[in-house]
Symmetry: none
Subunit: 155 residues, 2 copies
DNA sequence: ATAATAAAAGTCAATATTAGTCAAAGATAA
DNA sequence: TTATCTTTGACTAATATTGACTTTTATTAT
């Protein structure tokens, strides 16, 4: 029932590999062929689901023997994770990216499950209930950055 | 005999599925077609009959492979306390009163110390950064109510 | 070495496929 | 009668899919 679209299925496939190994290295055309999609759809999947907000680093090379390599990074290992995240967020963040950020913090055990849920509820589109998209996004950024700053201060 | 408008019938249909499984996942257009109504009527049914107050969580996704998913959740023991708080807050709350609410939830062990702090940061005057006091207070009310509603059930 | 060719991946915009919003019109109940 | 609830549909927004074109890198031929 769940995951009716191919992008979700490709995402799961890549993440299932990442569950075992530190990184996954693919040939774009092979994966595209495996799932019967055009090659550029692989870029779409990566761009929407393997961002730094999601805790992934991506590197690639073109030409003969080219590849795309996806690596799961642990934000906590980095001393100034929170600073990095704050920079990435800037003064505006979509609900989707906010979800990715909070999810990453949960995976890195910076936040408990409940804390993560509370933050997502607090920054949810329906919760905020403002009509203007830009206002909503900047408000969401302020709340998340406020919390991140608090977390830094705390530790 | 109760009137059986289409919205009621669709409601019963969805709830009959939820009687067996934990959740139901639909394609909006399919259900609309099944009952011969316009798609947006499904939104109406959900909005009026599957609210969080009634113990339902709804999530959805647009685009290819999109869906609407309804989940029945278990209410916690203090749900009625939370309901009362939600009523009292209404559509506006000052930072001072918000502090009192959060403080009492902490004392009642509904919230951990860290969770309480997160909520206070999220609803802080400086965090929200809106100039208009009324806007600030109603925003704070929305955030806290959103969180209280989340606390009503166990995920 | 250099130039031409091949073999990758990247970009971007058009199109397709969903769901969401909102307000007007219609129906029903108090 | 009047207020509330239901139904409808036009418009909006989000997400996914596709393909033409570009860029980068490696390999081969001269």
């Amino acid at each position: 029932m769940q995951s009716q679209n191919i992008s979700d299925i490709i995402e799961k496939y890549l993440k299932s590999i990442l569950a075992d190994s530190e990184h996954v290295e693919i040939r774009r055309s092979e994966i595209a062929e495996l799932f019967n999609v055009v090659p550029s759809q692989i870029n779409y999947v990566i761009k929407t689901r393997f961002t730094i907000q999601n805790g992934y680093l991506v590197e690639s090379k073109r030409g003969g023997g080219g590849y795309i390599r996806i690596e799961k990074v642990n934000l906590v290992d980095d001393a100034d994770v929170l600073d990095t995240l704050i920079q990435v967020i800037g003064d505006s963040i979509t609900q989707r990216d906010a979800y990715a950020v909070v999810q990453s913090l949960y995976e890195d055990e910076v936040l408990s499950h409940r804390e993560a849920q509370l933050i997502l509820v607090a920054t949810d589109h329906n919760t905020l209930g403002v009509t203007d998209r830009d206002v909503e996004s900047s408000l969401r950024a302020r709340i998340i950055i406020g919390i991140l700053n608090h977390l830094r201060y705390e530790s």
